[in-house]
């Protein structure tokens, strides 16, 4: 086994998951201007819906993933309608608090329905092992990387090439200004939340088979996603992608060459260092 090559691949896998979660977060930040703490809960719900569709409804893996995308996207849209939309004009602290309230609610809801125990998810790809160039991968892990990259490319094309994408960005910068160009704010906000929820669902659905499904599964992931979003510049799509991979690689290499005990600290230390040097983040837009 070639440790370095293996660790690079491990970093790529985990970085893909991080990037997807961070992307959803950064998108919503664009509209909300608030870190959506409930995003981790969406990730978690995505894992449960996928799993339950497979075990309770007997759906195939990809169908289950699609159901999760719809359900979690729908929940995200509801959040926007019922909560964040109402808080548009309140001081910035408040939507953070509301997000925390939503997080507590969703997590408890899942616990009440499905209990707190760990569950594992098996997919058609769980067991295939492929070895090449001295590294070992499973089909599921390749799927993670490929799916994440595809999702990111699709999103980037959507944002860059369509006016809808541009209108999301416009909304984030000046709401009234966007109305006056004929942008239907509600639709855009809902769409953004839907995309953000779907990305969380995809991330959970592809990652759960190599991990587990349980109510706390979103905690650490979301915390790291925040780190990524900050490192990459809040609201920046490329920043979230690059940041996710930076973190993935630093963790796998850091655990190998620095310390395994403190590998979870790496993300946070990285953030502290970067913000200490550049308080606006790595990819901050020029201030005016």
């Amino acid at each position: 086994m070639d440790v370095l090559a293996q660790q690079l691949f491990n970093g790529l896998t985990i970085g893909s998951v991080y990037s997807l979660v961070a992307l959803g977060l950064t998108l919503v930040y664009g509209i909300l201007h608030v870190p959506n703490f409930a995003h981790g809960a969406l990730y978690m719900v995505g894992g449960y819906v996928t799993l339950m569709s497979m075990t309770l409804l007997g759906m195939p893996y990809f169908v289950a993933m699609f159901i999760a995308i719809l359900v979690v996207g729908g929940i995200a849209v509801l959040m926007e309608r019922l909560v964040f939309n109402q808080l548009r004009d309140s001081p910035p602290i408040h939507d953070k608090i509301a997000a925390i309230g939503l997080l507590l609610f969703l997590e408890t809801l899942i616990r009440v329905i499905w209990g707190s125990d760990y569950r594992s998810m098996t997919t058609p790809f769980s067991d295939d092992i492929i070895s090449f160039l001295g590294i070992t991968v499973t089909t599921q892990r390749i799927l993670i990387v490929v799916a994440a990259v595809l999702a990111m490319i699709a999103l980037q094309l959507f944002l860059k090439k369509t006016m809808v994408g541009a209108s999301i960005i416009a909304m984030s910068q000046n709401r009234e200004g966007a109305f006056l160009q004929g942008i239907n704010a509600n639709r855009v906000a809902m769409l953004t939340f839907f995309i953000s929820g779907s990305l969380a669902a995809i991330a959970a659905a592809i990652n759960a088979p190599i991990n587990l499904v349980f109510p706390d599964m979103g905690h650490l992931v979301i915390l790291k996603a925040f780190v990524i979003v900050i490192i990459g510049g809040m609201g920046s799509v490329p920043g979230a992608i690059i940041g996710g991979y930076i973190l993935g690689f630093s963790e796998s290499l850091g655990a190998t060459f620095i310390s395994a005990e403190y590998s979870d600290i790496i993300a946070f230390v990285l953030l502290v260092i970067i913000l200490t040097v550049k308080p606006q983040g790595l990819f901050a837009k020029g201030a005016h």
């Binding site: 985990i14 998951v17 991080y18 594992s120 706390d216 655990a255």
Partner: protein, 399 residues
């Protein structure tokens, strides 16, 4: 005026028992899970554990053990102390694993229910309770394998599970013989895990082995274990020490196999081989060569047969050791009260625990507990489980 002045017992008027029997103070409800027997005096037994949040699954398992035993005792008409019939009433409170909440709960149970004994299934809560339980005269049934708990000179502490150090030697011996002398440790970063590492490392080296890798894993939170396993395997171990909750442990074992590990697993006692096997959906290749504690369901004997099948019927799941031990301890407690001739005096009960233990009926002896030692810890005879040719088998330590 707050509660706490009424009698410890009162005449039950039938079932179910009213909530918070002596709570004349604002009528706060406390959940009552058990039914008391008609025409008996009621003894309130307290419980403070995680019933919500991340630890809820574990907390409810411990509670299940208590509830089952109490229900059985009450259904059979209660138990006799000093010529009077008594039944138990369980008052359970949620502490979300937080020590200060445990402190609050225990105080509440003492004040409002005047409980003579309280079960706390985690060491943080145990420590927080040890601060005042002697003063408040309440027996603390601590479910924690932390040896320090019985080293606090606390006269009212009763440690229920065995300390983990009993497992270390036989496990090591078995694996070293079967796979070789190089051990890599991927311990969980929990209290349990640290205890194990501190005992296992030196013991392994004493036997002539070498610890080639030592790192800890967050079995609960890590998004992916590949990184850490890759590092552990790069040191070419013969044996891998793993273990947290059964499910993530199963993941780690599977991923170690994916990454080409062919040696044996030394599984910490928190994880159960039967559960791991379940999680993996029956994967003999993966668990082959593992050694771990004997799962209750694989260690059926006269003492636990009935319990296991009842538990399976009621909860649609196999009981774990936390349920088994709690179940057992209720019987020990009842017998200890009988032996002490007192249901209120915690000191008297504590002093008669060992005597009570010996009095428990054969068919309620879930584990082979030999004594409640001077320091309040219970001593258990243990068996280990090994996987040979894809089958889980039990081995006595002496073999």
């Amino acid at each position: 005026n707050g509660g706490g002045e009424s009698d410890v017992t009162e005449e039950a008027e039938g079932t179910p028992a009213p909530g918070a029997p002596d709570g004349g103070d604002g009528g706060e409800e406390v959940e009552v899970e058990t039914e008391v027997a008609e025409g008996t005096e009621v003894v309130d037994i307290g419980f403070s554990g995680p019933l919500s949040g991340a630890g809820a699954y574990y907390g409810n398992n411990t509670l299940n053990g208590l509830t089952m035993a109490i229900d059985e005792i009450n259904e059979s008409g209660g138990f006799e102390v000093d010529g009077e019939m008594y039944s138990f009433n369980l008052v359970s409170l949620d502490d979300q694993y937080l020590p200060d909440e445990t402190g609050a709960n225990v105080r509440r149970l003492v004040q409002e229910n005047d409980t003579p004994a309280i079960f706390v299934p985690h060491s943080g809560g145990t420590y927080a309770t040890q601060v005042f339980n002697e003063e408040d005269e309440v027996l603390l049934g601590a479910y924690s394998s932390e040896p320090e708990i019985t080293q606090q000179d606390n006269d009212l502490t009763w440690r229920i599970p065995p300390t983990y150090d009993n497992y270390v030697e036989p496990f090591s011996e078995y694996q070293m013989e079967r796979f070789g002398t190089d051990l890599a440790m991927l311990a969980p970063n929990t209290e349990f895990g640290m205890d194990w590492v501190e005992a296992l490392g030196p013991a392994w080296e004493e036997m002539g082995g070498e610890v080639v890798h030592d790192s800890s894993v967050d079995y609960e939170q890590d998004t992916d274990f590949y990184t850490l396993i890759t590092n552990a395997l790069s040191d070419d171990p013969d044996v891998l020490f793993v273990g947290g909750s059964s499910e993530p442990t199963a993941q780690v074992m599977q991923q170690a196999r994916e990454l080409g590990f062919e040696g044996g697993f030394l599984v910490m006692d928190q994880a159960k081989l039967d559960e791991i096997d379940n999680v993996l959906g029956g994967a003999p290749d993966i668990i082959e060569g593992s050694v771990g504690v004997a799962p209750l369901v694989h260690d059926i004997h006269e003492g636990n047969e009935q319990f296991v099948s009842n538990y399976q019927d009621m909860h649609d799941a196999d009981p774990g050791s936390e349920a088994g031990y709690h179940y057992y301890s209720v019987y020990i407690l009842a017998e200890a009260m009988q032996a002490a001739g007192d249901t209120e005096n915690a000191h008297a009960i504590r002093e008669h625990l060992d005597e009570g233990l010996q009095q428990v009926d054969e068919d309620k002896r879930i584990y082979d507990v030999t004594e409640v030692a001077e320091d309040g810890g219970m001593t258990t005879e243990l068996r280990m489980a090994v996987v040979e040719d894809g089958e889980i088998e039990l081995v006595d330590f002496d073999d």
